[in-house]
Symmetry: C2
């Protein structure tokens, strides 16, 4: 069991969706492009599809024989990559469960807990360490620094610097820059969510990430863009286990975003700064309130 074939299973499931409205599938390299996998994996998928009687496969001819049924798909939890599994398990440990700052983190224990080898856990922790929530004692354990008030303040301090600068550079983008079109699409979704906020407020989290990432990208600075990962993951998991007032909180943020977007589209640097500051201030308040 050196490596699970999760890439194959995930790509297979996605490929079943492709089957929907064609009588035959494209060439192997093209399928590989669409699914983001190599030809080796494409051929494994095709072989399995043939085996299940979904297609007839003879060299270039890949004729669809029938539409996929529910039981043709692999179970979703078999398609998660190991690093996703570790991330979820670890975030639950430190954000949802009561984890005090200063606690030791034990690689072996985590590995045994999830039922995997230590290598992947180590790699995850190393990747995770850039979020500033854990720290390594060389030749020894990791220390949890905790999702504390100080953490939130340090995080938002940098976030505010970066976002203000990014927003300022957004207005200097030439009108033909694709970011303007993206902004319009994002704005439209804001209106959609607001119109049906009672049912769709939970979709805000994803939209929030999309909008702010769009702003950060306009800085054209990899360090600024990469830093947004930290914000995104912290907000994502934190609010996943902190749903108090979610509907109201998200509605307010949507309104603030719309002001912010309007300011960006006005291309007036002062308005942008004002709207951006307003939103950042209230985002910070909201975050701080949710930390005991």
């Amino acid at each position: 069991m050196a490596r699970q074939n999760t890439v194959f299973k995930d790509a297979f499931n996605r490929c079943l969706l492709q089957l929907a409205d064609t009588a035959s599938l494209p060439s192997e390299p093209e399928l590989g492009n669409v699914l983001g996998v190599s030809r080796t994996t494409v051929r494994a998928i095709l072989a399995r599809m043939e085996e299940l009687g979904l297609i007839r496969w003879n060299k270039r001819a890949k004729t669809v024989l029938r539409q996929p049924k529910a039981e043709d798909y692999f179970p979703e939890d078999e398609t998660n990559s190991l690093s996703t599994i570790i991330e979820r398990s670890f975030m639950r440990r430190i954000l949802a469960g009561g984890a005090e700052a200063g606690m030791q983190i034990n690689e072996l224990e985590i590995a045994r807990d999830i039922g995997i080898g230590t290598t992947s856990v180590r790699e995850f922790l190393i990747r995770f360490s850039r979020f500033g929530l854990i720290e390594k004692r060389p030749n020894s354990h990791w220390v949890l620094k905790g999702f504390t008030r100080e953490f939130a303040l340090e995080l938002t301090e940098v976030r505010e610097m970066f976002e203000l600068r990014s927003a300022a550079s957004f207005v200097t983008l030439p009108p033909e820059h694709p970011a303007w079109a993206d902004l319009q699409r994002v704005e439209a979704i804001h209106h959609e969510l607001l119109a049906d906020i009672d049912n769709r407020y939970a979709e805000f989290s994803e939209l929030d990430e999309r909008f702010h990432l769009l702003v950060h990208r306009s800085s054209a600075n990899r360090f600024i863009v990469d830093f947004y990962d930290i914000i995104a993951i912290v907000f994502h998991y934190h609010y996943q286990w902190n749903k108090t007032n979610a509907r109201q909180r998200n509605a307010r943020a949507l309104e603030e975003h719309l002001d912010y977007i309007a300011a960006l589209r006005s291309r007036d640097a002062e308005k942008v700064e004002a709207a951006c500051r307003r939103h950042l201030r209230s985002a910070r308040e909201t975050l701080l309130q949710s930390i005991p």
Copy 2:
């Protein structure tokens, strides 16, 4: 050969220095503290010292019998941790050797090259990825993004934001804060180096890191402090292989630092900002000039 005993060898060498001016060694826990290793390693060191006839060891009594000779020490290259070895080798590859942007990075090749396993190489690359110079294609290779002009500009943009803010918070530190004493010591070393610049200009690199780290620390923000790692490692390796005008360059930087330090000690926020900006501008110019 699961793991080299480099921790032991390095601590042993450092322990030999401790032998200099005492007739007997302290307790095992205390030695462990001084050397930064566990008692297990301390006992291994004591055992070896006894074997070499350096001490007589009987429970609490650890009598020094003779001073260490050159051949008692382990060769220095046996004391480098594996991650240090990989780091050096990798930095030489990408900064010294002609490495073009877009080049693929092959874990197995690096591992074979150095003569180690792939695990450590992977871990190094993951840790290194936060420097923004490489990027992972999932399930596939890493891509070298190159030490380019854009990289330098993005790096210095963030650096300038962070350092200006840190310098501003430095002047608000209370007079009894240890940073002021550190600053005084750092200032003194600046004068020492300047007084003998022809012989000691090479020591600037280390002093530079110490000074700027001191400034960044006053931000009390882990993300700002951690970011300085990136600056430090990039400058360290870059100037290690780029010695043109080193003497003149360093002398000028020392002068700028002294202005900057004087401004900090004046506690005048405007002066600080001006001096900081001047130094950052010239540091950026110098860096950009050294990139083709």
